[in-house]
Structures are given as C-alpha cells and as structure tokens.
Amino acid sequence: MKKIAKAKIDDLFKAISEKEVLYLPVDDAQGQAAFIPWKEGLKMSGDLNTVRSAKDLFFPQVESLVNFKMDGKKLEIIDAKRENDPFVIFGVRPCDAKSFEILDKVFYYSEPVDSFYIARRDKSTVVVLACNEPEETCFCQAFGIDQAEAAGGDVSAWEDGENFYFKAVTEKGEALLEGLPLEDAEDGAADDIKKAAKAVMEKLPLRDLDLSKFGAGKTQELFDDPAWAKLSESCLGCGTCTFVCPTCQCFDIKDFDGGKQIRRFRCWDSCMYSDFTQMSAGQPRPTQKERFRQRFMHKLVYYPDMHEGMFSCVGCGRCLRKCPIHMNIVKVIKTIGEEK
C-alpha cells in the first residue's frame, strides 16, 4: 500500500497529469461537481458524488460517429472516430465503479460491441475512492456494493484527515502508481478508515432496501401491476433521472445538417421522452405510464433477465436527489415490493 499526505496532493495530480490526462471531480461555478481535466489550481470537490456520473468519460452525451461532405454529386465519408489518449479518472465512487461493469456487459462484451466505448474504456485507468461520508440517499448496499472497500477499479483509494492511501488492484493500476511521488504505507493502513465507513453504513436509512420481488423472470408478474399508474401520475416526462444515472445506456443517432456537411452523431436518449423508440407504426409506449414502467422494469427486471440476474442500478442516489418531483427507483421498489 502507498500513501501521500493531503497537503501534497497537488504534487500527485501534477505527476499523473504529466503522464496522462487526469479527470478529477471539481466544483463548477454553481458548486456542482463534475469530472473535468485537472490543471494547476483545481481542487477536488468535497461532494460525495458528481451530478453527472463518471460514465460520461466512456459514453459521452454527444459524440460524432461519421461526417459526410457533399460537393455536387460527390459524397465524401469521413470517419469521425479519433484515437483516444490514455487517461486517469480519480475519485470514482464504488457505485460508479460498479456501473462500469454494468455498461461493459452491454457495450464491451455483447455483440455488436461498441468500438467507441471500448476505445475509451481500454485507455482508462480508474482510481476508486471509498466513501467516508455517504448520504441518506445512498443505497448501494442493496446491490452488494461495499462503499468501504473501493473495489471495481484499477486502484483502490481511501482518505482520512491526513492522507490518501492507494492500493493497485490491476496491472494498469500498478503501472499508474509506479514512479508517482508516493510513500510506502503498511498493508493495514486503511483498516481504521474502513471500520469507520462500515459503522456509517449501518446507519444509512435505505440500507435494507428489499429487492426480492424484482429480478430475472418477473416480467409477467410485474408488468401489469396497477401501481405503475399511480407511481407515474405526476412524472413530468423529463430526462433528469436518465441523464444523471450511471447505468442508463440508451442513445439515439441523429444528423446535424450543416448544408454542405452532415455530422452524424449519437446522443443519450431517454425512455421518458415521448419519441423514444418511436417507429413508423407509432409510439409503442403512448403515455407516461408505459415510459415510466419501461425505465424501472429495465433496471430491475429486463437487464437482470439478460445478464445473469444482475440489476442495472447501483444505488448512487442521484435520481433521489435530482428528480424534480422526487419520484425515484426507491419509491418504486418499496411501493411494488410491499404490495406483492
């Protein structure tokens, strides 16, 4: 295990950024944390989590796929894919780290694979930071995530008042830590931090969230549940929950017509939107009830159906904080779970 004094953390960030681009959670002008490239003077955010999740760095909201250039009858097709430089994401929380595993199953390991996603994923080194001060909105424990363990990345990290501690867990992680201005630390250096974090986990109000009514094979049982109508009645149909969600993965492909050039890009889509998966035959989910149901059934039933029972929620709590009307997956799980 390695460590560095917090007072010297800028030396570490500088050393990393000399090797690779370093993304760090930093507060923006409105005090909202976001992953942005580190440069001299930037301080790590004190917030538990970023507003948008770390998935942005592998699966950005907008990305060009191909460009078309037209000159009379001549059409030139320009590949928009760029080589990605290697990069480091520092301070990913265990919930977001778990979300990479969920996204990997879709984009990295399922045919057809997503070469844009893979290109970024392969170039990344992820430093996962354990959570000392989880919030009341955290329910990652329900999905088997241990916020004290900082698993799921290339390097696990812990912090206390004085130091950051690091432990490489993959070869990539070892390569990153090599040559950085770090001191050696005892193997058990983070044990007290973990112990304190586990004590806090015991106090979290949503720690016992019961998922037993959901999972693979529950489609028939849950699809026509009358509760969907009531749960969705005040949903505004905005895309906030889907866009702050670390596991939402749907996208649309659009053309931006500039007259002589067309940019074909993909962008995040939201099952909450009225034209999501609209076809020439019409909209398969005509009201907000069906759209709302789709989102939660996907997280809690369809995805587990396709991926060995794994849920596609990590309990980060972003939707609990940001939904304009405070409807969220916890309320869905509790309402439907309790009546079954």
Binding site: Q30, E133, P205, G237, G239, F265, Y273, I325, H326
Partner: protein, 325 residues
C-alpha cells in the same frame, strides 16, 4: 398549517365538494415530497404533507386534472396562483372543474441549498426560531432558514393569492420592492463579451433533460417543437454551442409575456443553471418598453405582446439601446 390544510382536504372530500385532492405526498425523507392525487380521507391522513419543502407548483397539473370527470381541489401558494390565472387566460384549465384553496406562504426551502451548506445525510428537520434544525447520520446540524430558501422566495414578488375559492391563512400583498431584477441589472452592466461568457459558462452545463420545460406552467404545448422529429429542429442533445444557447433562448421568447416568474425552471434544474434570469430579463425589458405587466396577476389586462398602444417601443429601440445595455 399542515393540520389545517389536511383537515380542509378531508372536509372537501367528505362533504362531496370535490372528488379528488391534489397535494404533496410524503416520501422516504422529510424533503422528497411528490405531487399526488388523493381520493380518500384515509390517504390524506396517511400521506398528505405540507411543509417548507412543498415547493412544487401545482398549477400545471390542473391542465390534465380538470379534463377528468368530477372536481379536483388544489392547494395553491401565492406564486402558484399567478400560473393558475395565466393558464386560465390561455384557456388551459377548466376552472369549473377545480376548487382552489389559497394558502399563505412564508417561503419554501430547497434541499440542494441545505446540502450546499455542507449538511450531509439529513434524515429529519424541525424549525427553531429562524433556523432549520437537521438530524443527520452525522449528528444534529443547524442552519439559518433563510439560507435554505428558494431564490424565488428570497425575492418573493407577491404574497397575494390572486385566485381562490377560499383562503387558509391571511392573504398577503404584492411586493414590488423584492429586488428580483437586481441580478438582471448586474448582467446588463456587463460588456457584451462578459455577458456572453457568463451565459456560455451556464448554458454549456445544460444536459438537455428538459426538466425546465416540462415543469414550466407556461410550456403547455401538446407537442413541443423540440420533441417533434418532423420539425427539423428536434433536439435530444445539443449538437453544438449554438443549439445549446438556442433551446433556452427560444424557450424564453416563447414564454415571454406569459411567464409569471414562478421560478420552477431554476428550482428543478439538476445543474443549478439560473434559468429564471433569462425570463426576468424579458419581463424587465417588457416593463420598461411597454409599461409594467405581471403575467397572471388578473384576468383582464392584455399582455404587452398581444396589445398595441401608440406608446409602444419602435423596433429601432434595439439600435438605440445598443450593445452595451
């Protein structure tokens, strides 16, 4: 206040004045209230909450609720009531299908501001003098209530409920000296480059979730042009800086003269973009160029953009004002 409101809600259901009640439903925590329709006194006893976190403006829900059979009761705060009147002026709400209980309001709090004050893991709240006392996973914390107030409440333009069937609490007055244009004036004093930089720094953070539009009582189109694949400008995400700016500026134009400054757009923005400032700039300009107008303040006054007077500003005012103002 909550006890009185709940009693009234049950009474309205029990004596058959209404069939349904629109209100705020308890959540997992003290702050995550969800707008909901209640149909029985038992539901109201169990889940109806009115607190300093009942910020959501219920007026827009009345568009759909008043299309249904029977009558619905709604509890309307002063700022919500301007939206209620404006929507009636636009023939979007069937007034005969709703029963409006006006409620006096001392300002609503925002959980985002509580968190910004550094309070983590809050599980319960109480009010003591001018303070919010928060029980948290990490012990008891307190903060001044005024620091947790929504921006629109800090600069509350009116404590008057402008349309109601009955009132709970005493109706208040308009407050023209609320200082709600101070921030707009600060932006006006900037150079065009500074102002552009300010808006780029804000709008570049937009994630196009459409929460501002979908919550906005003035955005009541059946199908938004930005959602219509046949419009040629449907946008699920901004493909360029221009589109990013365009969405918010077009929206501000579209609601000009109809925006009551209810502040819901800024309340719901997950990125804390101060969207209300765009609308306030339009309101301030209209006040200066066409005379004072408050959307939703009454049923009679014609909005400036739909009304011609010989004193109206000429289009050349754009050049007269120049780029510096």
């Amino acid at each position: 206040m909550q006890a009185v409101i709940k009693k009234k809600a049950k009474e309205l259901l029990e004596c058959g004045t209404v069939d349904r009640v629109l209100g705020w439903k308890a959540g997992e925590f003290f702050y995550d209230l969800t707008p909901a329709v209640f149909t029985t006194p038992e539901e109201i006893d169990k889940d109806f909450v009115f607190s300093v976190f009942s910020g959501a403006n219920m007026s827009k829900y009345l568009i759909e609720e008043t299309k249904k059979e029977g009558k619905v009761a709604a509890f309307i705060k002063p700022c919500d009531s301007y939206s209620l009147v404006q929507l009636q002026k636009e023939h979007r709400i069937k007034r005969e299908n709703c029963y409006i209980v006006g409620i006096a309001c001392d300002g609503m709090c925002d959980m985002g501001l509580v968190r910004e004050a550094g309070i983590k893991g809050a599980t319960a709240v109480s009010e003591k003098d001018d303070k919010l006392v928060l029980e948290t996973i990490y012990g008891e914390k307190e903060m001044p209530k005024e620091k947790a107030l929504l921006e629109r409440c800090v600069h509350c333009k009116s404590k008057k409920v402008v349309d109601f069937d009955e009132m709970i609490g005493e109706n208040g007055e308009e407050n023209p000296d609320c200082g709600r244009f101070d921030e707009v004036e600060r932006l006006e004093a900037m150079t065009p480059d500074e102002r552009f930089a300010f808006w780029r720094s804000q709008l570049s953070r937009c994630i196009r979730c459409n929460a501002c539009r979908n919550v906005c009582p003035a955005c009541s189109c059946e199908k938004c042009v930005f959602d219509n694949p046949d419009s040629g400008i449907a946008q699920k995400a901004a493909a360029s800086d221009f589109e990013e700016n365009n969405f918010h500026i077009i929206r501000a134009y579209h609601v000009a003269g109809r925006c009551t400054d209810c502040g819901e757009c800024s309340r719901v923005c997950p990125q804390n973009i101060p969207l209300h400032l765009l609308n306030r700039k339009f309101i301030k300009d209209m006040n200066e160029l066409y005379g004072f107008y408050q959307a939703g303040a009454d049923f009679e006054t014609k909005p400036p953009i739909m009304n011609y007077t010989t004193n109206d500003a000429e289009p050349s005012v754009v050049y007269q004002r120049g780029g510096s103002k």
